[in-house]
């Protein structure tokens, strides 16, 4: 699990890797040169097509600036900091993967007496609970909590938190796997008392399964190594510490836990987007940083339908939390504020720009604007993908372009679709409907072999 699958099976090693890296750099420079050559074409169209041209220019600058800033990112090295850690795994109908997740958590390279693993079964209707007991066995510092009914992920996470003792809480999704060194790495940034949360790096566990998962692997890489790295570098302003592999300081979430557990939005319980919501609360008082060396893998959707549902869910939680982000982010690092406000505004304009470029030209003649738009988008998609090829020396690189294509065709429109369907808070990939009830102690079972 430590060795990334794509590097093992689709990677370029040794001399090939070096040569390909050089080729990629030359290629990228050539693309940027042509982008530079088009500058007055874009400037000239500013006066005729202000929205279109201003958007094009700003997005271009935004993307390139993110990549440039991300180049300066470095992870926090092992400073010997060893706080007590509780790894909390909420599980709902995860009979397939839960044993592997637990095993990866029990095997972390961290002083044994400083780490505990807590698995919370959120009223699974399958064999998750027996699997939890099997996997945990009578291991010391392992707790299994059965909630007795389904409360939703937030309830399960919060209960795990209440059952924990660690100074640092590592939340792991039940379909994610930690690398052996992940806990040690994720603890290091907490040596700075200003840091309230740390997000690790996630790769796709089933990356070689299909084009859809390959595409997500490339997407994950830049979402973490470019976007989160940039935010992290700008005074620790990561806006989403992803559920698959994040750590929080107990003192940072204690005051916000209750409000977060029972968060309501538009008169309904806020179910998904637990990760972004928690990050958002911590970020108001603390720094949230990205730690590249804390590695994990996570299983991603394998069908288009599930992928789009997941993306819509993320989009909705992004919309909900952006309302809050909008209110306080100007007080943060100015660079981070510019990036974040831009990243909130762009998705609202993007669908109009796509429609303007594609439909507008088809309806009103001249196709030249369309070709310019398409080739420009393609160039950006290519740069984005080449970045992955360069960093990872991986043959999966070109799937990044598939991601951009799907983004332009579907995901761009999810911003508004998400607004229209905001009140539909069903999970989408799991058939769980939750009501945010407080945990009922009557139904609760706690198995802590160590105590027994």
């Amino acid at each position: 699990m430590t060795q990334r699958q794509d590097v093992r099976l689709a990677g370029w090693d040794g001399l090939t890797g070096r040569v390909v890296q050089v080729v990629i750099v030359v290629y990228a420079v050539a693309i940027l040169f042509f982008v530079w050559m088009t500058k007055d074409m874009t400037v000239a169209s500013l006066t005729h097509d202000p929205l279109f041209a201003a958007y094009t220019m700003s997005v271009l600058i935004y993307i390139l600036a993110r990549f440039v800033v991300a180049m300066f990112y470095t992870p926090v090295f092992d400073v010997g900091y060893r706080p007590t850690v509780s790894i909390i795994i909420p599980a709902f109908n995860e009979e397939e993967g839960i044993a592997g997740t637990i095993a990866s958590c029990l095997d972390v390279h961290y002083p044994r007496h400083l780490v505990e693993v807590i698995v919370v079964n959120d009223g699974s209707t399958d064999d998750t609970w027996p699997r939890i007991l099997e996997a945990g066995g009578r291991r010391p510092r392992f707790k299994a909590v059965d909630l007795g009914r389904n409360y939703g992920k937030r309830g399960a996470m919060a209960e795990g938190f209440r059952r924990s003792t660690g100074e640092i809480l590592v939340f792991v999704d039940s379909d994610s796997y930690l690398d052996a060194d992940a806990v040690r790495a994720i603890a290091q940034p907490f040596s700075d008392p200003k840091v309230g949360a740390v997000v690790g790096h996630a790769d796709v566990a089933n990356d070689l399964e299909s084009w859809l998962t390959k595409m997500q692997q490339v997407r994950y890489y830049s979402a973490f190594r470019v976007i989160k790295a940039t935010e992290s570098l700008l005074s620790g302003t990561v806006t989403c510490a992803s559920g698959c592999c994040s750590a929080y300081r107990r003192a940072a979430i204690e005051p916000v836990l209750n409000e977060w557990e029972f968060q309501r939005f538009l008169g309904r319980p806020a179910t998904f987007g637990d990760d972004r919501a928690l990050t958002n609360r911590v970020l108001k008082t603390h720094r949230v940083v990205y730690q590249e060396t804390a590695r994990s893998t996570t299983v991603v959707p394998t069908t288009m339908r599930r992928f789009l549902r997941q993306q819509l869910r993320w989009k909705k939680s992004w919309l909900r939390e952006s309302l809050e982000v909008w209110r306080y982010f100007w007080r943060k690092n100015p660079g981070a504020a510019v990036f974040t406000y831009a990243s909130i505004v762009f998705p609202f304009l993007a669908p109009f720009v796509v429609l303007h470029a594609v439909l507008g030209r088809l309806l009103w003649g001249s196709a030249s604007g369309l070709w310019f738009y398409l080739i420009g988008t393609y160039a950006m998609a290519l740069l984005y993908s080449l970045y992955y090829g360069f960093r990872r020396k991986s043959g999966l690189w070109h799937h990044g372009m598939t991601f951009v294509a799907i983004y332009m065709a579907f995901l761009v429109f999810q911003t508004y679709w998400g607004i229209f369907t905001m009140r539909d808070n069903r999970w989408g990939t799991r058939d769980s409907t939750v009501d945010h009830a407080p945990i009922d102690p009557e139904l609760l079972t706690v198995l802590a072999p160590e105590a027994a």
């Binding site: 080729v23 042509f34 050559m37 097509d49 070709w371």
Partner: protein, 323 residues
């Protein structure tokens, strides 16, 4: 597959550069930016040939017309390659030809001053960005000037096929370009009553009276002059008829030629066309200055051009009255 994807990923760019006008221009820009075009260096034998075959005349000027330089695709018929232009300029220089602009010729004619011997005028129609992009560094190296007939509305419009006013101002400031008029917006073929489309400058629109036509043309030409003066700072003195049509042949009203000539004469001292390429003599001071003839330059080498100029000089009757 990952490695193969690298070259494959270039295909959309190749398609864009080859199949779209914008892409082709972008490709030209990149080429000019990386390797500036140069005049070919002529061998001693080439130079001897140029001197031996140099046309010898004075009192007249050979007027050449170009449209595109370096264009690809559909435009190649109206375009020569940068290499051909380079060769032509190199041979003109080796043959000791003197390059003049429309403004210099207008001044000489008006003031009854002599033209330099072996005078050649290079004119370009339309104000195309790509032509200027390629021609400008070649002109600079040849220490030559060219006359560009600009469609003023196109210069102010979006898109990159035509040079923008900003670019035109830079070219004018270099001293290598004399910017003159090619109408404001009448460089297109219009639908007419009963028949094939005709040049907008030289035909009546369906239902248009000759009075309305006169007004339309006068307004257009006056606007072009005003616009050029406003943007470049110099009022144009010369005009080129779009498609070379001045109302003699491709027209639908017999009165048009007279009306158009009158309108042109109110705005310009010289006007150029390029009819009947079989015999095009030199332009001299006794010619009809509103119907001056130009040699349409094809895909010629420098030697081809010199031979064509010799023929033009031979076809020009002696004009002892010219200074």
């Amino acid at each position: 597959m990952g490695l193969l994807a690298l070259p494959l990923s270039m295909l959309p760019f190749v398609a864009y550069f080859r199949l779209t006008g914008e892409g082709a221009l972008l490709w030209s820009r990149a080429r000019v930016a990386i390797v500036k075009p140069h005049l070919p260096s002529l061998s001693a034998a080439d130079r001897r040939w140029a001197r031996a075959n140099a046309p010898s005349y004075s009192g007249g000027v050979a007027v050449l017309v170009y449209h595109g330089v370096g264009s690809q695709g559909d435009e190649t018929a109206y375009s020569i390659t940068p290499e051909q232009l380079g060769s032509q300029l190199a041979y003109l220089r080796a043959a000791g030809m003197h390059v003049v602009t429309a403004r210099q010729v207008a001044d000489a004619f008006r003031q009854h001053q002599p033209l330099p011997s072996r005078a050649v005028m290079l004119t370009f129609d339309d104000g195309r960005a790509e032509a200027m992009l390629w021609a400008d560094p070649l002109l600079a190296e040849a220490q030559a000037q060219a006359t560009m007939f600009v469609i003023t509305q196109a210069a102010g419009s979006r898109g990159i096929f035509y040079a923008s006013w900003k670019q035109l101002r830079q070219y004018a400031a270099s001293g290598r370009w004399d910017l003159e008029s090619h109408t404001t917006a009448l460089h297109f073929l219009q639908g007419v009553a009963g028949g094939r489309p005709l040049p907008a400058l030289a035909s009546l629109k369906p239902g248009e009276t000759i009075g309305a036509y006169t007004h339309r043309v006068q307004m257009d030409l006056a606007d072009a002059s005003t616009e050029l003066e406003k943007e470049i700072g110099q009022r144009p003195v010369a005009f080129a008829y779009p498609f070379g049509d001045y109302g003699a042949e491709r027209t639908n009203d017999g009165r048009i030629q007279g009306v158009l000539t009158a309108a042109v004469s109110r705005n310009y001292q010289l006007a150029f066309e390029q009819d009947d390429q079989l015999t095009v003599p030199l332009v001299t001071c006794t010619d009809d200055r509103l119907h001056l003839r130009r040699i349409d330059v094809g895909h010629w080498s420098g030697r081809d051009l010199l031979q064509r100029l010799r023929r033009a000089a031979a076809q020009t009757p002696q004009r002892p009255s010219c200074p």
